[in-house]
């Protein structure tokens, strides 16, 4: 939906890129993304210098959201490439439409005019090309350079990383049958990684790097207020204080902002207006996703955290 809506925006209507860090902060803010200044600086530089933005951080801290927010804020289509192991050019860049090509050959046969050179010339044209995310980002059909979100790059393998080098440094892809296609306007590229393995330095070298950390209490509160307006301000403050404390414990996976928001929504759905140990125990599944971590938060610990959280905001 969003994609088609964005595409309808003509080139002249397109908002220009922000001209300062403050303008970038405003842009993110206007799209409900409460960013710290360092992140806004990285985004600003990425836009200004036309360099890919490499975001690394724990799961659920809002890395992917940056791509979406930039697409919305700049009124550009969002092209998303979700990475997985074994991702190849057929799924990431382009593929030939084999059934159509075969029909074309049969038609040419039936018509009886098979000239070899012409046939291969006719078969390998853009008409028979299935465009995958990377090609769509470099040569968009709508003509507007999109925001290219390469999500969870750490899930793919090294060969694909190596392939990305050409795409990211020169904004071009090579299709043997057609030649090299170069982006007229480079797309805005956002790469995210959960750091389940180290990404090769060669990729990082071409990007602006930013480590997305957990937010501090004030910023997390602002995020909850924006994203979950149904929660009362006192509940939001309790939720944030509790989550902030939870992150200081020795957990296998500390809750991210996404978990905080899920939890706030869960509490609203349960019509709670304040935290109590029993509610925490019942809804812990929204915050913690490992059994060991859930077990570590015993009723005693939960009660202590609730007490401390309430004392803090009182």
């Amino acid at each position: 939906m969003k994609r088609t809506a964005c595409r309808a925006v003509s080139r002249t209507m397109q908002p220009t890129i922000p001209d300062s860090v403050d303008a970038t902060l405003d842009l993110l803010e206007a799209n409900d993304y409460v960013a710290e200044r360092r992140l806004a600086t990285a985004v600003f530089l990425a836009l200004k210098l036309s360099r890919p933005l490499f975001l690394e951080g724990e799961a659920g801290v809002g890395k992917t959201e940056i791509g979406k927010v930039l697409a919305a804020g700049l009124s550009r289509p969002l092209v998303r490439l979700q990475c997985y192991e074994g991702l190849d050019t057929a799924a990431a860049v382009y593929e030939w439409n084999y059934p159509r090509q075969m029909i074309e050959i049969r038609l040419a046969e039936a018509a009886g005019d098979i000239a070899r050179s012409e046939l291969s010339h006719d078969i390998f044209t853009t008409r028979f090309l299935l465009r995958r995310p990377l090609l769509e980002a470099l040569a968009p059909e709508g003509g507007v350079a999109p925001v290219l979100l390469i999500d969870e790059l750490d899930r793919t393998d090294e060969p694909f990383e190596a392939y990305l080098l050409e795409v990211l440094s020169d904004y071009q892809v090579t299709i043997p049958e057609l030649g090299t296609l170069r982006a007229q306007t480079p797309p805005v590229v956002v790469i995210t990684s959960n750091r389940t393995r180290e990404i090769h330095d060669a990729i990082k070298r071409r990007c602006l790097y930013h480590w997305v950390d957990y937010p501090d209490a004030a910023r997390e509160l602002a995020i909850v207020a924006r994203k979950c307006p149904a929660a009362s301000s006192s509940l939001a403050r309790e939720v944030v204080a509790f989550t902030q404390r939870l992150r200081t414990l020795d957990l296998f996976k500390a809750p991210g902002i996404a978990e905080t928001l899920d939890w706030a929504e869960a509490l609203v759905a349960l019509d709670r207006i304040t935290l109590d140990p029993q509610t925490v125990a019942d809804t812990l599944g929204a915050l913690l996703k490992y059994q060991d971590d859930v077990q570590a938060i015993t009723p005693d610990v939960a009660a202590r955290l609730v007490r401390e959280a309430k004392a803090e905001i009182a």
Partner: protein, 396 residues
Amino acid sequence: MAVAGHLGENVLYFVRVLRAAGLPLGPAKVIDALAAVDAVGVANRTDFREALAAVLVSRREQLPIFEQAFELFWRNPRLLEKMMAALLPKVHGRADDVADDLPARLAQAMLPPPVTTIPEGNEETELDAAFSFSAREVLQRKDFATMSTQELAEVKALLRTIHLPLAARPVRRSVASPRGHAIDLRTTLRESVGAGGALTPLAYRTRRRRPPPLCVLVDVSGSMDRYARMLLHFLHAITNDRHRVHVLTFGTRLTNITRHLRHRDVDLALARVADAVEDWAGGTRIGACLSEFNHKWSRRLLGQNAVVLLISDGLDADAGDGLAFEAERLAKSCARLVWLNPLLRYSGFEARPAGIRALLPHVDDFMPVHNLETLTDLAHALAKPWRREATLARAA
């Protein structure tokens, strides 16, 4: 050859010294070096050095080795003889002085092969000599902990030749293959078009196979000191031999030494490791270190069916406290957990200490690692196709 007599001979020797120090120099380089010396002459020492450097050095990292070797070798043409003299049993001072500020490998390359003598009072060596094994055969079976310095030096060289061919696993990526199971439409169609639309044989693809990542956890506590030092030579070789190898040391704390080991020069690599590892030859807290590994590293290093080698004697200062839990988690996060324990060299080995009893139920393989032969066995074991289900069924 225009470079006559002693100079030519010395250039030849110099190239051999550099080769022994690890520079990849073939016979053609000797000829090039002689030609270069012939071209610049020997009147100017700097020109002479730069000419040799231009021919003999091909990477930036080699330059320090070359420069030190040059200074040492050409400072005094008779130095080699002097160093030979210095090696005679009763004169130690000189050789030590020289060796101190040099990479160990270079110092060794400068030295002539020492005369093999059996040190007095070393019963075990005498015993070995009594058998008619070849020297190499003896080395294969000898415990690292009981080796003499000379033997250790020889074994270090052998350790670097052991490869670790992990059994390849299929990955989600395909490669053209005539025996494949999936039709390669792209190639088929292109060939068909090339043949004017006529029918051509179908092309096929199959799953590509690739060795899994390897993660090595080395115990560097006091009881493991000797083994850990030797095994680092082995680990340095395999780190630089293949992709996706990560090495961490643990004692009282966990240190990732992968980046240090990636240095191509083994002496520099090990020197950096020594700087980085602060708890060398100290105590062991296996449970705490595995916990740190599980929290901080396992998700980054153990993806894509990694194999974990845990090198430890299992003697734990915390008496196995919390170890079983962390070991179980580690085993569940990797495709295969291999425990290499030098204590297994004793035939009467029993899993008495608490640390060993805590670890043992969770490892997939339990193997000795105290001499070259056991390392070779390890290489064989890892090269065989393996699935965890099979062992679990056997254990049940």
